[in-house]
C-alpha cells in the first residue's frame, strides 16, 4: 500500500474528454464537478470543507441568498428515537408541510416525506383500507383515526442492504442517510422499504428561492438534483444541533415526541417506559426507532 494510488478524481478528470462528448447527448450536467465527487463517507475533512464551500457557493448563486451546507457528525452517546401518539393525531397534515419547508422538498413535482393515512376506527391499523387522500380541512372525521408514516430509521434497514453502490447507510446516531451525489437512482431501496418512506426525484426539483431553507446538511435537506432518492432524516440539520425535528415542533396537539434513546431522562424514553408502544410491520424485523403509542 506504499504505492500512491491515483486519486480517483484525477483519474476521472482524465476521462472528462469523454464526458464532454457525452454532454451532447442531452445530459447537461455531466461535466459538472459533482460527477467526480467521491463518497461522502470516504472524504477527508479537508475534502469535505472544499466540497461544502463549492456547494454553498453554487446554491447561494442559484437561490440568491446565503446557503449553508453543514457536515455535522453524529454526537457521542446519542441515538435518536421517535414516538408518535396515535390517539392525539388529528390528521391536520401540518407536519407534512412543515417538513416540506424545512427539508427543501420539491414543490413541483410535489415530494412529501410524511404520509398521513386516514384509517377506519373499526379496522385498526390496516394499510389495505387506508386513505392518504382525505380532505385535511375536514379532520378529524367521524369514525376515523390518523397514522402519519415517515422513515422509521430502522435498526435493521432493508434499504441500506439493497443499495448496489453503498449510497445509503446508517449513521452512529441511528439516522439512515443518503449521499445524493453517490446515488445512481436505481430505486432498489424504494422497493425494499416496507414503509414507502423513500421518494425519488422524477424531475428536477423546483423550490421557489424565497421558500428555500438556507440552513442545510450535506446528508439531509440541501437542495437535491433530479434522478436521486431522498427521505426523512429526522431533520439531521436540526437534531445534530440540539433542536427538535420540524414535525415535532409544528404538531398542534403534541402527538410527536423525540429524543435520545440512550438518555434515560429523555421524553422518548419516558414514553417507552410508561406507555405501551408498537412498531409498524414488526414481523419484518426492521426494528424501527419510530414508535407508535396510544397516549390517551
Amino acid at each position: 500500500m506504499t504505492q500512491t494510488l491515483p486519486n480517483r478524481r484525477e483519474f476521472l478528470c482524465s476521462l472528462a474528454g469523454c464526458a464532454a462528448a457525452a454532454t451532447a447527448a442531452g445530459c447537461s450536467d455531466l461535466t459538472h464537478t459533482s460527477w467526480f465527487r467521491s463518497r461522502f463517507r470516504e472524504m477527508s475533512d479537508d475534502e469535505k470543507k472544499q466540497i461544502v464551500a463549492g456547494l454553498e457557493q453554487e446554491h447561494t448563486a442559484k437561490f440568491g441568498k446565503p446557503v449553508e451546507v453543514g457536515v455535522e457528525p453524529p454526537m457521542q452517546g446519542v441515538e435518536f428515537g421517535y414516538a408518535l401518539d396515535i390517539s392525539r393525531c388529528i390528521g391536520c397534515r401540518k407536519c407534512v408541510y412543515a417538513c416540506v419547508e424545512e427539508n427543501n422538498q420539491s414543490r413541483d413535482p410535489q415530494v412529501h416525506w410524511i404520509r398521513v393515512l386516514e384509517m377506519d376506527k373499526d379496522k385498526g391499523v390496516d394499510f389495505a383500507h387506508a386513505n392518504a387522500y382525505y380532505e385535511a380541512d375536514k379532520v378529524p372525521s367521524e369514525g376515523h383515526f390518523y397514522l402519519p408514516v415517515q422513515c422509521q430509521q430502522c435498526q435493521n434497514p432493508p434499504c441500506v442492504k439493497s443499495c448496489p453502490v453503498g449510497a445509503t447507510w446508517q449513521e452512529k446516531d441511528g439516522i439512515v442517510v443518503i449521499d445524493y451525489d453517490w446515488c445512481i437512482g436505481c430505486r432498489c431501496c424504494m422497493s425494499a422499504c416496507p414503509y414507502g418512506a423513500r421518494h425519488f426525484n422524477y424531475a428536477e426539483p423546483q423550490i421557489p428561492a424565497e421558500q428555500l431553507n438556507p440552513k442545510t446538511h450535506y446528508l439531509g435537506n440541501r437542495p437535491r438534483m433530479k434522478g436521486v432518492v431522498e427521505k426523512c432524516t429526522f431533520c439531521i440539520q436540526r437534531v445534530r444541533n440540539g433542536r427538535y425535528p420540524a414535525c415535532v415542533e409544528v404538531c398542534p396537539v403534541g402527538a410527536r415526541k423525540f429524543g435520545n434513546l440512550l438518555d434515560p431522562d429523555s421524553e422518548v424514553r419516558y414514553v417507552l417506559e410508561h406507555k405501551r408502544v408498537f412498531v409498524l410491520k414488526s414481523e419484518l424485523n426492521t426494528r424501527p426507532r419510530f414508535f407508535y403509542f396510544y397516549g390517551l
Binding site: 480517483r8 442531452g26 445530459c27 448496489p164 453502490v165 437512482g185 416496507p194 414507502g196
Partner: protein, 422 residues
C-alpha cells in the same frame, strides 16, 4: 501474428457480410435503425426531463423497463436448454444450434444492460458500480450481484462464440478441451443469472408478492419456455433462407423439452395461486389486482388472462406430438409462449408486486409513450445485433466464409451441419 492477421481479416470479412444483403435484409435492418433512432430521441428527452417522462411514480417505482429486463434475462438464460441435451447427453442434431443460442444470449444481455441503463435516474454515474473506482456493494446488494453475474455471462458467451466461430473460420476443428469446459460452465452460469435476478425481487420482504421462495424456480421454468421459442423460429428461418440444414428431430426435441418446462411453469404458477387464494390473507390483494382487479383498477387484468390463455394453449400444442411436429401449430405455439411469458414476466411480475404499494395505495400504472418507444428502440438494438451476428455466423457454420476469402467446401464443416466436436 498469423492469428492477429487472421482476426483482422475475420473482422473485415464480417463487415463485408453484414453490409451485403438482399432487399428484405435491408428493409429489416433499416426498419430496426429507424426504431432505434426514434427510441434514442425519446431517451434524450427522458434524460432531459427526468423519469417523469415515464409513468413510474413513488408507488410503482419499477415498471415496464425492469419488467422487460427481467424477461430478457430469462431469454438469455435459455441458451442452456439447448446446451444441456447437446453436450451433456451428446445429442448431435442440436449441437449446431448451440451457437445460435449463445448469440441470442449475447443480444439479450445487451438489451438487459440497456433496459437497466434507461431505468436508472443518474446513468452517468455508472462508474460508482465499478469496484475500485466506485463501490460495488457485495455481498449485501442483490443488484450488485446481478451486475456481476450478467457481465460475467456476457463475457462467457462472447468468448465461447468468438472462439468457436473464429476456429471454424480458420478451418480448424475447435479444441474440445478449450471450449467444452466453458460451455459446461455456461449451464450453471445461465441458472445463476436468472436466479440472482429472481432473488433481486425475492429478497424484499416489503413486497409479499415477490417474497415467495417459489420465485426463482418459476423464473427458470418460464425462461426455459420463452428463450427456445425464439430459437425454434430462427432455426426454421435459417433452414428456409440459407443452405443451413437443421434436422427436424432437433426442432421436435427442443419443442418437447419446452413442453416439460411449460408444465413445470404452469404447475408452479398453480402452486402460487393456491397458496395465496386458500390462505386468503391480506397478501392476496396483489394476486387479486392481477387477475380480477381492485374496484375500478383493472388495467392489468385482461393482459394477465391473455398471458394465462397463451401459456395454456401453447402448452397443449407442444404437449401433443402431432401438433408440435406440424409447422403451423409449432410456430403458433412459439408465438403464444413468447407472448405468454412476456406478459407474465414483463408486466405480471413487477406491476402487481408494487400494487397496492406498501401503505395500501393503488396507483394504476401503464407505460407512457416514452417508455414504449424507448423499449421498442432497445428491442431493435437487440434484434439488429442478433441479425448481424447470425448473418456472420451462418456462412461460417456453412463453411462459406473462410480464411483467405474463398469458401472451403472441403474443410471440416459440411453443409448442413458443423462438426463442432466429435
Amino acid at each position: 501474428m498469423a492469428t492477429l492477421r487472421h482476426f483482422a481479416d475475420f473482422a473485415l470479412g464480417s463487415l463485408r457480410i453484414v453490409t451485403r444483403g438482399n432487399a428484405l435484409y435491408w428493409l429489416w435492418v433499416s426498419g430496426l435503425l429507424v426504431l432505434i433512432a426514434v427510441g434514442a430521441c425519446f431517451y434524450v428527452g427522458q434524460l432531459d426531463t427526468g423519469l417523469i417522462a415515464t409513468n413510474m411514480r413513488d408507488q410503482v417505482s419499477w415498471a415496464f423497463y425492469i419488467g422487460n429486463f427481467t424477461f430478457l434475462v430469462g431469454v438469455a438464460a435459455a441458451a442452456v436448454l439447448l446446451v444441456i441435451p447437446a453436450y451433456v447427453y451428446n445429442w448431435k442434431p442440436i449441437k449446431e444450434v448451440v451457437i445460435l443460442g449463445e448469440l441470442l444470449a449475447i443480444a439479450s444481455i445487451a438489451m438487459c444492460g440497456l433496459f437497466v441503463t434507461v431505468d436508472i435516474g443518474r446513468p452517468e454515474r455508472f462508474w460508482h458500480l465499478i469496484p475500485g473506482l466506485g463501490l460495488l456493494n457485495v455481498p449485501n446488494s442483490l443488484l450488485a450481484w446481478d451486475v456481476i453475474v450478467l457481465n460475467g455471462y456476457l463475457v462467457l458467451n462472447f468468448v465461447i462464440v468468438t472462439y468457436l466461430l473464429f476456429s471454424l473460420y480458420r478451418g480448424r476443428v475447435p479444441n474440445k478441451k478449450v471450449f467444452l469446459p466453458l460451455v459446461l460452465f455456461s449451464i450453471p452460469a445461465a441458472i445463476a443469472i436468472h436466479t440472482v435476478t429472481a432473488f433481486l425481487y425475492n429478497g424484499l420482504p416489503a413486497r409479499p408478492f415477490w417474497n415467495a421462495s417459489i420465485l426463482a424456480p418459476r423464473f427458470i421454468a418460464s425462461a426455459l419456455c420463452s428463450g427456445p421459442a425464439v430459437l425454434l423460429i430462427l432455426m426454421q428461418l435459417l433452414r428456409r433462407f440459407t443452405r443451413f440444414e437443421i434436422d427436424d428431430r432437433a426442432i421436435w426435441k427442443v419443442a418437447e423439452l419446452m413442453a416439460y418446462a411449460m408444465a413445470v411453469n404452469l404447475f408452479l404458477l398453480g402452486a402460487e395461486v393456491f397458496k395465496d387464494v386458500y390462505s386468503d390473507t391480506e397478501h392476496l390483494v396483489h394476486m387479486r389486482y392481477m387477475f380480477v382487479g381492485i374496484g375500478e383498477h383493472t388495467a392489468i387484468v385482461p393482459w394477465m388472462w391473455l398471458s394465462v390463455i397463451c401459456s395454456l394453449v401453447a402448452f397443449l400444442l407442444f404437449l401433443v406430438p402431432k401438433t408440435r411436429a406440424h409447422p403451423v401449430t409449432l410456430n403458433l405455439g412459439c408465438v403464444l409462449i413468447w407472448l405468454g411469458v412476456y406478459l407474465e414476466k414483463g408486466m405480471g411480475l413487477v406491476i402487481p408486486g408494487l400494487t397496492p404499494d406498501t401503505l395500501g395505495e393503488i396507483y394504476e400504472y401503464s407505460p407512457s409513450t416514452t417508455e414504449v418507444w424507448i423499449a421498442a428502440g432497445i428491442f431493435s438494438v437487440g434484434f439488429l445485433l442478433f441479425t448481424l451476428m447470425v448473418k456472420v455466423a451462418t456462412p461460417i457454420m456453412l463453411g462459406e466464409f473462410r480464411v483467405g476469402g474463398a469458401p472451403a467446401g472441403e474443410a471440416s464443416a459440411t453443409p448442413g451441419g458443423v462438426t463442432l466436436a466429435h
